[in-house]
């Protein structure tokens, strides 16, 4: 069974459209994340949720809105897509947010969603 899954794997859309990416984890973790990986492979955190509560928002444009219906799901909705939004988006999960000092802060990543905005 896949630990962290994302759908869709590929998303091609026109500028100005609205799209969503879904993420689910079956690890029983309390914390979930969204990362953006640009064309140069740089990984940057966007959001983090712990027990369905937003704990990190890294100055992401408000066109990006995460939603966590329960601890196992964290979806990302993007309004008015722009060319610069083209990237690979990764969902991840961990048992606790950040370093718990106990080795429970390992983050497990999903396979990624490649978003292309034309």
């Amino acid at each position: 069974d896949t630990a962290v899954s994302q759908t869709p794997k590929y998303l091609v859309t026109q500028m100005g459209n609205d799209k969503s990416i879904k993420c689910e984890q079956n690890l029983g973790h309390d914390t979930m994340y969204w990362y953006k990986q640009d064309s140069k492979k740089f990984l940057k955190i966007m959001f983090s949720y712990n027990n369905k509560e937003l704990i990190i928002n890294e100055t992401v444009p408000n066109r990006f809105s995460p939603k966590s219906p329960d601890k196992a799901h964290l979806n990302l909705h993007i309004n008015s897509l722009e060319l610069g939004d083209s990237a690979v988006y990764f969902c991840a999960s961990s048992q606790v947010p950040g370093s718990g000092g106990t080795g429970t802060d390992t983050q497990y990543f999903g396979p990624g969603t490649r978003l292309t905005v034309l």
């Binding site: 955190i45 983090s48 990190i56 990764f90 950040g98 390992t106 990543f109």
Partner: protein, 110 residues
């Protein structure tokens, strides 16, 4: 202060050689330093990690060396294999998140 600097950007090693990737950080609040491995088309996966109270950690062919006073840590891959060809990211944990280095693309030639 939240940056993690990683070098080199890319690395070519012959099969059987040693691959070395270096990282440096500034913020002493970081308290967990993992390395992630990413193959093309896949998500990053934890490879090995170290806490700052340990100077070295070894798992198979992979070793992390940690220098707390210099605020530097490195990944050594012994007997590098073509299957090790991937992008490697160092990271530092703090402030409820992981901060990643820019990544190193490793190519191991047969």
């Amino acid at each position: 202060q939240q940056q993690v600097k990683q070098s080199p950007q890319s690395l070519i090693v012959q099969k059987g050689g040693i691959s070395i990737i270096n990282c440096a950080y500034e913020n002493t609040a970081f308290d967990y330093f993992p390395w992630y491995q990413q193959f093309p088309g896949k998500g990053p996966a934890l490879l090995i990690a170290i806490r700052p109270d340990v100077s070295e950690k070894k798992e198979g062919r992979f070793t992390i060396s940690f220098n707390k006073s210099a605020k530097q840590f490195s990944l050594h891959i012994m007997d590098s294999q073509p299957g090790d060809s991937a992008t490697y990211f160092c990271a530092a944990s703090g402030y409820n998140k992981l901060i990643f280095g820019a990544g190193t693309r490793l190519a191991v030639h047969p």
